[in-house]
């Protein structure tokens, strides 16, 4: 099947600094151009995007992630035809709808209903098409009786919902979504995700740009990581998230860090945090059901009578998932100045698949003084082999009483070894 979207060697450059020259400069340079003299632009250019190549098949969802300024929005604008590439070609097969800024065309003085027609027209729908979908749009937005109220009296969330609902009912072949789902309440966001999945299932090619990694992972089949205008990684969403976070978190880790923010002087340093498998081997990736040991290496500049060690893990740099503090177990360490390590043994690590980032803090329990603290920079990947997308992988067993009989599928244990390599 033909690709729905194809980027071949696409590049886009911008000029640095103000785009507007003064009218005088323009006249002067035009004059010189007319008499055939070469005019050199004073402002340097830079490539916002370079050598970008990718393809999306119909019915495929591609996520694009990357730090701010990586070129994500530029790529979408090129695709939407708002900007023109300076290099390479972009092919789009079929009708394209962009949910880049769904409220761009809305006018506060018009009612919700009037704005549906306006936004719909801006998105390329015909009046007849909008009319036939009007009830669905209104229902989807959940605006209800306020549909005849001017939009300027709506809350921000309501406006966004109205815009998205209209745009979600365009029937495109290619759909671009850029960060529009960050507004709206949880229920609405959920409905939007469902809607996108439905569209993808019906053969729409989706390009989804977001900073919400969880959402991206639950919707996309494949993910492209952009960094500095270049494609840094293409692959499964989980791997892409890992790649992206590792790159950005390392950057955070490299930033200077005051070990003791309160006194400004350094009493200790965390040297490393290692994750060890059952056999003592250091790993970057674990299975939720297998035992895990965390080892923290640190160095103290002075004797500490009662040292407590604390670590905490965030998932994808987002939710705080685990916080382990030795004091909560009634344990403190008597530690003289010098290098030490402490270990935390876990019988299993029953968290959902994803990337976790750990922080370490060392405390002097007697003085309630923070001795050292790291940023969230120690990464651990959990691979649940795509068994679920939840936050936890709980140990559990299925069974049935009398009426039906469970049939156990052949488990391929060989496959379990591969993803961690």
């Amino acid at each position: 099947m033909a690709a729905a979207v194809r980027f071949s060697n696409v590049g886009k450059k911008f000029r640095r600094g103000a785009v507007h020259e003064s009218l005088r400069d323009l006249l002067a340079s035009t004059g010189r151009r007319i008499i055939g003299r070469e005019v050199q632009s004073k402002r340097p250019t830079f490539w916002a995007l370079r050598n970008l190549e990718f393809e999306i098949a119909p019915g495929e969802a591609l996520g694009i992630i990357g730090p701010n300024g990586a070129g994500k929005s530029t790529a979408l604008k090129l695709l939407a035809g708002i900007l023109r590439a300076d290099e390479g070609t972009i092919n789009v097969n079929g009708r394209l709808a962009a949910l880049i800024e769904v409220n761009a065309g809305m006018h506060g003085d018009l009612t919700g209903m009037e704005n549906i027609f306006l936004t719909g027209a801006i998105m390329g729908m015909t009046r007849a098409e909008i009319k036939s979908k009007l009830d669905d749009i209104i229902e989807f937005s959940g605006i209800g009786e306020f549909i005849h109220t001017p939009v300027k009296r709506y809350s921000t969330g309501m406006q966004a919902r109205l815009g998205f609902s209209t745009a979600a009912h365009v029937s495109p072949d290619v759909l671009l979504v850029d960060e529009v789902l960050s507004v709206g309440d949880v229920a609405f966001r959920h409905r939007c995700e469902e809607r996108m999945r439905e569209m993808v299932a019906s053969g729409v090619a989706l390009i989804f740009v977001t900073h919400n990694l969880e959402q991206m992972r639950s919707i996309c089949h494949r993910t492209l990581v952009l960094d500095g205008g270049k494609s840094a990684f293409v692959g499964s969403p989980a791997d892409a998230v890992g790649h992206y976070l590792k790159a950005t978190m390392t950057r955070v880790g490299e930033m200077s860090y005051v070990d003791n923010p309160r006194t400004g002087k350094t009493d200790g340093r965390v040297l490393a945090m290692k994750f060890l498998a059952n056999d003592g081997r250091e790993v970057e990736c674990v299975h939720p059901t297998e035992p895990l040991t965390m080892q923290i290496d640190f160095e103290l500049d002075r004797d500490v009578e009662r040292l407590t060690v604390e670590t905490a893990l965030r998932r994808d740099g987002g939710e705080m998932m685990v916080s382990l503090n030795s004091r909560h177990q009634g344990i403190t360490f008597k530690a003289p100045a010098g290098r030490h390590d402490v270990r935390i043994d876990l019988p299993a690590f029953p968290l959902g698949g994803g990337n976790y980032f750990a922080i370490v803090r060392l405390w002097d329990a007697d003085r309630s003084e923070l001795l050292a603290e790291t940023p969230y920079k120690f990464m651990l990947q959990v691979d649940d082999q795509g068994k679920g997308t939840g936050l936890l992988s709980l140990p559990h067993e299925w069974s049935a009483l009398r009426t039906i009989e469970p049939i156990v599928a052949n488990q391929t244990h060989a496959a379990e070894e591969i993803p961690c390599l």
């Binding site: 033909a2 911008f14 785009v19 507007h20 009218l23 323009l26 604008k77 090129l78 695709l79 939407a80 035809g81 708002i82 900007l83 023109r84 590439a85 070609t89 972009i90 092919n91 789009v92 097969n93 962009a98 880049i100 800024e101 761009a104 065309g105 006018h107 003085d109 018009l110 009037e114 027609f117 306006l118 027209a121 801006i122 998105m123 390329g124 015909t126 009046r127």
Partner: protein, 274 residues
């Protein structure tokens, strides 16, 4: 399959005609929403201008020998002011249309011509309303003064005159909208230029080519034969024949072609330069 860089401008515009209609409708809706008099403003503006100029030329200033016109002055002024208001409102709307819709220009793709065209479209609606009042005005002067109105088939020529004016306006509107996007000075300049242009056109007084530089400038101005043509086919019952109107037609078409060509050529830069 299409590459996003090249698409036929005609088919594209046809595809987006409903968007054009929606934007015109939005402009009108918004303009008259929170106003008490609403659409009446379309009539009140040229009407008040007419009254002002009637006062100026018949009471305040006595023109030597009187103005050389064959109809009551208020009718003369109104038939000039209504198309002129259409012209100036279209241009003033167009010049700002891209910048005012910056949100759409930078976020959504559709042919950018839609913006200046929709300004002209919404000005046309006002023009239509103000124009229909002319019927009442003609009736008044026919029944209550010595002037008599002679109906004539020449009125069938009116749509052509309107079309020529719109073609000219659209071409100019695209050029101005584009220029204003790069240099915001254009909008300020246009305000002054339109004032001056009005007095170089036979809007509130007749202009004859008397061979002086001023007469030549005024006659070369394509708006002069166009405004004149309105009076000819509505009130005088003659078809605007002769070289002046024909050359205005040519100017209009050339302006439009030039404007559209330049606009299409530059439109991919709008989003980054706005």
């Amino acid at each position: 399959m299409y590459a996003t860089s090249a698409a036929n401008p005609f088919t594209e515009l046809i595809r987006y005609r409903q968007l054009l209609a929606s934007l015109i409708w939005r402009d009108l809706r918004v303009r008259y929403k929170q106003s008490m008099l609403g659409m009446a403003w379309a009539v009140l503006l040229p009407m008040s201008m007419m009254l002002i100029f009637t006062f100026v030329f018949t009471r305040a200033v006595k023109v030597v020998g009187g103005l050389d016109i064959t109809m009551p002055y208020p009718l003369f002024a109104y038939t000039g002011l209504v198309p002129w208001t259409f012209f100036s409102a279209s241009l003033l709307g167009s010049v700002n249309s891209l910048v005012a819709n910056r949100n759409l220009v930078t976020k959504v793709y559709f042919p950018r011509e839609v913006f200046p065209f929709s300004s002209i479209g919404s000005a046309f609606a006002d023009f239509f309303i103000a124009g229909s009042v002319l019927v009442g005005l003609i009736g008044y002067f026919h029944f209550f003064t010595r002037w008599t109105f002679v109906p004539s088939a020449a009125i069938a020529f009116l749509p052509i005159v309107v079309l020529v004016q719109m073609t000219f306006t659209a071409g100019l509107g695209m050029l101005l909208a584009m220029a204003n996007l790069f240099y915001r000075d254009v909008r300020q300049l246009l305000g002054v230029a339109i004032q001056l242009w009005m007095f170089l056109t036979c809007v509130v007084y007749p202009i004859k080519n008397d061979g002086s530089w001023w007469g030549i400038v005024a006659v070369c101005n394509p708006m002069t034969p166009i405004i004149k043509a309105y009076r000819q086919c509505i009130l005088e019952g003659t078809i605007p024949a002769g070289g002046a109107f024909a050359s205005a037609c040519v100017t209009a078409v050339c302006t439009f072609v030039l404007g559209w060509w330049a606009f299409r050529k530059m439109s991919h830069k709008f989003a980054e330069c706005i």
